[in-house]
Amino acid sequence: MNAVYVTAASAADIPAVQNEIAAALPGATITDQDDLAHEVTGSLTSTANLANDLGTWLSVVVLIAAFTVASLLTMAAVARRVREFGTLKALGWRSSRIVGQVMGESITIGIFGGAAGIGLGYAGAALIDHLAPKLSATIGPASAATAGGGALGGKASGGLKSLGNTPHTVSVSLTAPVTVSVILLAVGLAVAGGLVAGSFGGWRAARLRPAAALARVE
């Protein structure tokens, strides 16, 4: 025998019952409903924190990858247009104007990409809201708890403090909230991505010697 379940006549008697058991069985571990509730809540919080941290770092990695890919693509595009820039230099275009042209194109692409990303984000969030499975945590006298955390954010409800002796189910719903701040951040990052990519591309275009650019075989 390794567990004994004890029922108190009322919630107010629980501390007294605990003290009596402790006195009768000094080596025993005594767990009450508050401890159980705290344990489950802690698990849910840890899961949510882990999911948030993972999400944040994944976002950073994806952002760096996106900036890098955008910069490389812009530089590749500049490399393909070397003769065009050489021709513009032959026509008397200043390097700064050519850099501005490349950056302008890059930022414009960033803005369009950001707008497309917002649309896709809305669609993705709606899809998650529609398709996400309902997760739940059940807490009862047998301390049988199943818990789940949302990868995108979770909300728990159920009133753990009022568990009593009957099993209670805590529902956890996965949501992908789309807020104004998230949209502004997305547009800002898209434009910043365009700026970074355009800077690299423009820098490369500015370094071209006109004669060398015109001599480039496509």
Partner: protein, 244 residues
């Protein structure tokens, strides 16, 4: 007037130095049409790029209208290219995403001409080269001859003092070649241009007032005053004299 004095251009290819021009002396008078012939890789395009302020000589001087281009900073050279020098390339070098009028208008961006005037002048220039009906066509929708006409319009729309043409008929068939060279000749007469044409084609070179031969980076050219446009075509190498 161009005055080139002992122009040397060396390139480094890996650890090896390549002499593209080996002391070129040349005088091109205002409104003169000079053709430069020579084998591929003997320095013709390099000479044209140095005359067009697209490249600098390793040593020597290049004067255009009394200004030594080799002593100028890049910004000043860019201004000279924007105002005084028009280029025509063998491969036309049109921007594929812009229509004919917009391609021509690109040459009027550096002089800070307003967009509406850029468009009207571009349309005039295209009309002058016989492309009034092709203003909104993309380069891919034009024949080779038409693309070269667009390039000529782009070179001349800013009314430069000099036109430099690098194998302007090199990518064209014979019939189109004759049309283009005839067009260049008419524009040269009409605008009083100083024109330097690099070409492989003796029949094209023969239309010029003087013909120079560039071989192994050395230019052989008759020093005499050029014939007037009405004196007929140059006769070719027989009248050449090696200068250096």
């Amino acid at each position: 007037m161009y005055v080139l004095t002992n122009v040397v251009k060396n390139y480094s290819r890996g650890r090896q130095a390549v002499a593209a021009l080996r002391g070129v002396d040349l005088v091109v008078r205002d409104s003169e049409w000079l053709a430069i012939q020579g084998p591929t890789g003997h320095g013709k395009s390099t000479l044209l790029q140095i005359m067009g302020a697209l490249d600098r000589p390793t040593s020597g001087s290049v004067e255009l209208g009394g200004i030594d281009l080799s002593a100028l900073r890049e910004a000043a050279l860019t201004r000279i290219r924007a105002r005084s020098i028009g280029f025509v390339f063998q491969t036309f070098n049109l921007i594929p995403t812009l229509n004919a009028a917009d391609n021509v208008a690109m040459a009027l961006v550096p002089p800070h001409i307003a967009a509406a005037e850029r468009q009207s002048r571009a349309e005039e220039a295209l009309t002058a080269v016989g492309l009034a009906g092709r203003l909104r066509h993309l380069p891919s929708e034009l024949s080779g001859g038409e693309q070269q006409r667009v390039a000529i319009a782009r070179a001349l729309v800013k009314k430069p003092q000099v036109l430099l043409a690098d194998e302007p008929t090199g990518n064209l068939d014979e019939g189109t070649r004759d049309e283009i060279i005839g067009l260049l000749e008419n524009l040269w007469r009409e605008h009083g241009l100083t024109m330097v044409t690099v070409t492989h084609d003796s029949s094209v070179a023969a239309r010029a007032q003087r013909i120079g031969q560039l071989k192994h980076g050395r230019l052989a050219i008759p020093p005499s005053a050029p014939r007037s446009p009405d004196q007929g075509p140059a006769t070719g190498p027989a009248e050449h004299r090696r200068v250096r």
